[in-house]
């Protein structure tokens, strides 16, 4: 078990290293650095000013060396100006963190995640704040999505080919076939517009006080989450993920329901409810469990669209902002977070497997 965990962590580090190098390479292409200089020093500065900005801010060193700086294996750049004042990567980072001591190396290994050029704040602060916001969103998505998906899947799968199965399957396929950017816009038009959809009707009947039923923008959820401002983004993500999990659950459930031991149970007169809940459910949940865990990284993907659509500043929104503004260190940190999330959920799914199915051994 311990060896398994160690191996997994090793894989995680290696993946993170490879991925961050790729991200670092792509964000440090000369054109990208020029974008960065222009977003930082003025969008209409000249080429000479770009070159001097890059030089003065340590971007002129070779790419591999700077990747080493970021990792913390190469000493950070320093530069003394005409008056003899020394600045450099580590000076700035230490100043931001409020530390008097300036280390020679200041990268990931020393615990420095760097500064976000877009938000002008330490990357670690930005990521923690934004991950917290996405955490809330994800939590509500899982709370809504998983029970709904399992109920739909089990209901559909317990009597294959029945009318319930057909209608629930149609619903599941439709919801999973609709991408977030379609369903989100559709939900806003249906529920959060004062000119089209349901809100004008409800408002003219006097059923709602304001002009709209739900809020089509989740910015106020930053301060306080309410049903009215959070329902639409949560539903948009949940609907997409739900259909998929429901389909897997259904497939797994129908398979279990054809097993010999289920027939035996029926023959000896166990009630249908009992068969489903006692005998079939646990075996049928093994496949969906892996899928749910796999779904979490997928959800992180989906939140980019949904958070931008509903202007909810979470992890996905941060990723979008960082990519658009070529915020190198923020993008690197975001990819590390993504790798950790993917591999961590895989780890949980492997361990959970053992619990659900004692025949499987890890080692």
């Amino acid at each position: 078990m311990l060896l398994f965990l160690l191996r997994r962590i090793g894989v995680m580090l290696l993946t993170a290293l490879c991925l961050t190098f790729v991200v670092f390479y792509l964000t440090n292409l000369p054109a990208k650095l020029e974008t960065l200089a222009k977003t930082q020093a003025g969008s209409r500065i000249s080429d000479a000013e770009v070159a001097s900005w890059l030089e003065r801010n340590g971007y002129a060193r070779p790419m591999v060396v700077r990747y080493g700086e970021w990792l913390g294996v190469v000493p950070g750049w320093t530069r003394a100006d005409a008056e003899g004042t020394v600045t450099g990567r580590c000076y700035r980072l230490a100043a931001v963190e409020g530390e008097a001591y300036v280390p020679e190396r200041c990268g990931l290994l020393q615990g420095y995640w760097g500064n976000s050029t877009r938000f002008r704040a330490p990357v670690s602060d930005v990521i923690t704040a934004r991950l917290g916001a996405t955490g809330m969103l994800m939590a509500w998505v899982l709370i809504v999505m998983v029970p709904m998906a399992l109920v739909v899947g089990v209901m559909a799968g317990m009597r294959e080919g029945s009318r319930t199965d057909r209608s629930l399957s149609t619903f599941a396929i439709a919801s999973t076939a609709t991408p977030e950017y379609v369903s989100g816009v559709f939900l806003i038009a249906l529920l959060a517009s004062s000119t089209v959809g349901l809100s004008p009707l409800l408002s003219s009947w006097g059923w709602i006080d304001g002009p709209v039923l739900f809020q089509g923008n989740a910015r106020s959820a930053m301060e306080q989450i309410t049903f009215w401002n959070f329902a639409l983004p949560v539903m948009t993500i949940a609907l997409y993920g739900m259909g998929y999990i429901a389909r897997i659950t259904r497939a797994s459930m129908t398979e279990v329901m054809t097993q010999q031991y289920i027939r035996t149970a029926r023959l000896k007169g166990v009630s249908f409810t009992n068969i489903v809940l006692r005998h079939a459910l646990r075996n049928a949940l093994i496949a969906p469990f892996t899928v749910i865990m796999l779904q979490i990284p997928w959800l992180l993907n989906g939140v980019v669209v949904v958070e931008v659509l509903f202007s909810y500043p979470g992890f996905g929104w941060t990723l979008f902002e960082a990519a658009v503004n070529n915020d190198i260190e923020l993008l690197l940190a975001a990819s590390v977070v993504a790798v950790v999330v993917v591999l961590l959920t895989q780890l949980i799914s492997d361990v959970g497997y053992v619990w659900l199915n004692p025949r499987i051994r890890i080692s």
Binding site: A31, E34, T35, K38, Q40, A41, G42, S43, R44, I45, S46, E49, S52, W53, T117, R118, F119, R120, V185, I188, A192, S193, S194, T195, G210, P211, V212, F214, Q215, G216, N217, R219, S220, M222, N229, V308, L309, F310, S311, P313, E321, V324, N325, N326
Partner: protein
């Protein structure tokens, strides 16, 4: 000193001349106000010259209190003189004030200056600092502070300091020229210009000209909010929003004439206007920063009528004359001739503006000269292109992915195509577009307005200027422009201006289809928040009922 000092009460002779022209109908009232106030005539006096009473600023009595939520991009702050977006300035307007301000009616009003005077040939300007102004840290505001700021503006060694170009008549080798500023006493200073420059006061109303405290050194005016205004920042999160509240520890010099709101919240909702609509429907914003295209009507439909500002802002679909095939004047002229600006205005910008004449001087500008109408002749355009041997050449028109800018360029390209000339459209995302905006062979750039016509010509079309994206270099043009910069008299300057405009047209510098009207949508209970032609958000004059 060569100039004759005039008393503050005495009117500039040119102002009286302008007033006469205005009476004779040679000058519109707006033009008159811009010009007269630029010469140091106060707005009430200027209205007086016309025999009019200055309009009452407000019909209703403003109410104190309340908080306002406004949609606006919140970008990472930096040193004010390097600001490249009006939004950066707007956040700080509550505490960083300006020496003078440009008003919706085209006049220039004193803010931290009480008045100013120019000598006869606009080479010496006397600035009188407003007495009784204090910084919010308690320091008095003096002429030394003004001198300090002007010196900062002249420092061209700071990357992206766009004020340096605006202060060229008092700077030398990228810094303030020795002896250009003379501090007379605590409340008076004099600027000695190397050459006549009528735009220098108007330039001080531009958004990067925010007046900072002498202790300001960093590049974040939010972290270090020492200013003269009545507000102070509470929070500022790039990409998310900013909160500003009335400063209870500071007595504002203009107490009783503003600072009605207790609190202003700027909400950054990204660039997609449909997200703004959704937020407005949910009651999360009460006014937009700027609304464009169809969204003006969409917002109006949900109970947020629009406020319009007529401006000299435009989209310059310019050729870069340093790049093939646009080095050839005939090619540029031919492409211009294929495009009917009226159609571009109608299809590209929903007719929300006025037609322009390819020379980047607006009828709003005081010195605008009327030229004969442009000829549109697609058949001749095609012939000219063929005569240059470019019949099979595929031209490429590049634009940013912004809604109205892309639509305008699509219309321009469609008309060129209709003339039988091959053209391809390329749309670049904002993140990459600005990387090379100066060097695209044929592309479009958004230009905000400047109060005087010479100002944009100085910035964008003088040889070798940093923002000369057309690569335009014409000795005669530069010479005439220098001449125009020093002519205080209206008709005289218009004569030179007519030549400048003619050169612009003859050389085929750009296709400049229209002058934009700008819009903002706001709830009916928000007052004093009309759209401003230069995008200013003076929230210290907004109030709610």
């Amino acid at each position: 000193m060569t100039h004759k000092k005039r008393k503050a009460t005495e009117l500039h002779p040119a102002a009286q001349l302008y007033a006469r022209e205005c009476h004779e109908g040679k000058l519109s009232r707006r033009e008159f106000l811009t010009r007269a106030t630029a010469l140091g005539v106060t707005a009430p006096a200027a209205y007086g010259l016309l025999g009019l009473a200055a309009p009452a600023a407000r019909a209703d009595t403003p109410q104190m209190g309340g908080s306002l939520r406004m949609q606006m991009d919140i970008k990472a702050q930096r040193d004010p003189r390097t600001w490249d977006w009006s939004e950066l300035a707007n956040v700080c307007r509550g505490w960083l004030e300006y020496l003078v301000s440009y008003e919706r009616d085209g006049s220039i009003q004193p803010v931290l200056l009480e008045s100013w005077e120019a000598n006869e040939d606009a080479t010496v300007f006397t600035l009188n600092v407003r007495p009784g102004v204090t910084w919010n840290n308690g320091d008095p505001f003096t002429s030394a502070d003004v001198a300090h700021n002007i010196e900062r503006w002249c420092d061209a060694s700071v990357e992206g300091n766009s004020m340096a170009g605006r202060m060229s008549s008092i700077s030398e080798d990228g810094a303030l020229r020795e002896g250009a500023i003379e501090i007379v006493d605590d409340l008076t200073l004099r600027l000695h210009l190397a050459n006549p420059d009528i735009a220098i006061i108007a330039n001080m109303s531009d958004y990067p000209a925010a007046v900072v405290h002498p202790s300001f050194t960093g590049d974040d005016p939010v972290a270090n909010p020492i200013g003269t205004g009545p507000y102070r920042p509470v929070s500022h999160d790039t990409g998310i929003g900013a909160v500003i509240e009335r400063n209870p520890d500071h007595t504002w010099w203009n107490e009783g004439n503003g600072a009605w709101l207790d609190r202003i919240e700027f909400v950054d909702l990204g660039t997609d206007p449909s997200a703004w609509v959704a937020a407005a429907e949910g009651g999360e914003i009460e006014l937009t920063y700027q609304t464009t295209g169809d969204f003006v009507d969409i917002f109006a439909a949900i109970g947020m009528p629009e406020s319009e500002a007529i401006t000299a802002a435009t989209l310059a679909v310019r050729f870069n004359q340093e790049q093939e095939p646009y080095t050839n004047r005939n090619v540029r002229r031919a492409l211009q001739m294929a495009v009917d600006n009226a159609v571009v205005l109608e299809l590209g910008y929903d007719g929300r503006g006025t037609e322009a004449e390819n020379h980047h001087v607006c009828p709003l500008h005081p010195e605008y000269a009327e030229l004969p109408p442009l000829t549109v002749d697609p058949a001749a355009a095609r012939e000219m292109i063929e005569a240059e041997g470019l019949g099979d050449h595929e031209f490429e028109l590049i634009s940013i992915d912004d809604n109205w800018q892309a639509a305008t360029c699509d219309t321009v390209a469609a008309q060129i195509r209709a003339a039988g000339i091959n053209i391809r459209r390329t749309i670049l995302p904002g993140a990459t577009f600005w990387n090379d905006w100066l060097n695209y062979p044929f592309s479009s750039t958004e230009w905000n307005m400047r109060p005087l016509g010479v100002q944009v010509l100085n910035l964008a079309y003088r040889s070798g200027e940093a923002w000369n994206e057309a690569g335009f270099a014409n000795e005669e043009f530069d010479r005439l422009l220098d001449q125009a910069n020093g002519i205080a008299d209206a008709d005289e300057r218009r004569e030179v201006m007519a030549q400048l405009q003619q050169i612009m047209q003859d050389e085929g510098v750009l296709i400049q289809p229209y002058w934009r009207s700008l819009y903002r949508n706001l709830r009916p209970n928000v007052h004093g928040a009309e759209m401003h032609p230069t995008f200013e958000v003076r929230y210290h004059h907004y109030w709610k009922s």
